[in-house]
Subunit: 76 residues, 2 copies
């Protein structure tokens, strides 16, 4: 099965606990297979979501917000 | 019942998740009634432990290490 990679940028994560919190919320979305987070503590972290179906920006944004963080523009 | 306050300094905590992790480990020690953490993200945070019995530096150090952090000298 082919998969889709979606990259978003998230601010406010500072440690492995933050990474776990965001990963857990994103993994709960339909079709999500893998989350890879390149933590940039205190800055903007790159989050790569691998899924079997397309994800909407709003569902990703809501999941990240649920974990307590914010999706920001790529170059914020 | 009278209580004892013990203050230690812990490095490496960056967010509320870190505070929760350290609090949980310290609360599991015998006689501990309350934990107050003054988070200094990226620096040294002040941790005040209120307990009904004296706590040894080693048991405090081990609990903090269990959470993944380090007790440091006061002025580190």
């Amino acid at each position: 099965m082919s998969t889709i990679s979606t990259i978003v940028h998230v601010s406010g994560m500072t440690c492995g606990h933050c990474v776990s919190a965001v990963s857990e919320e994103l993994e709960s979305l339909d079709g999500v297979e893998e989350i890879d987070i390149d933590l940039n503590a205190g800055g903007v972290s790159k989050v790569t979501i691998t899924s079997t179906q397309e994800l909407s920006p709003s569902e990703i944004g809501e999941a990240v917000a649920e974990a307590g963080y914010l999706v920001v523009a790529n170059e914020a």
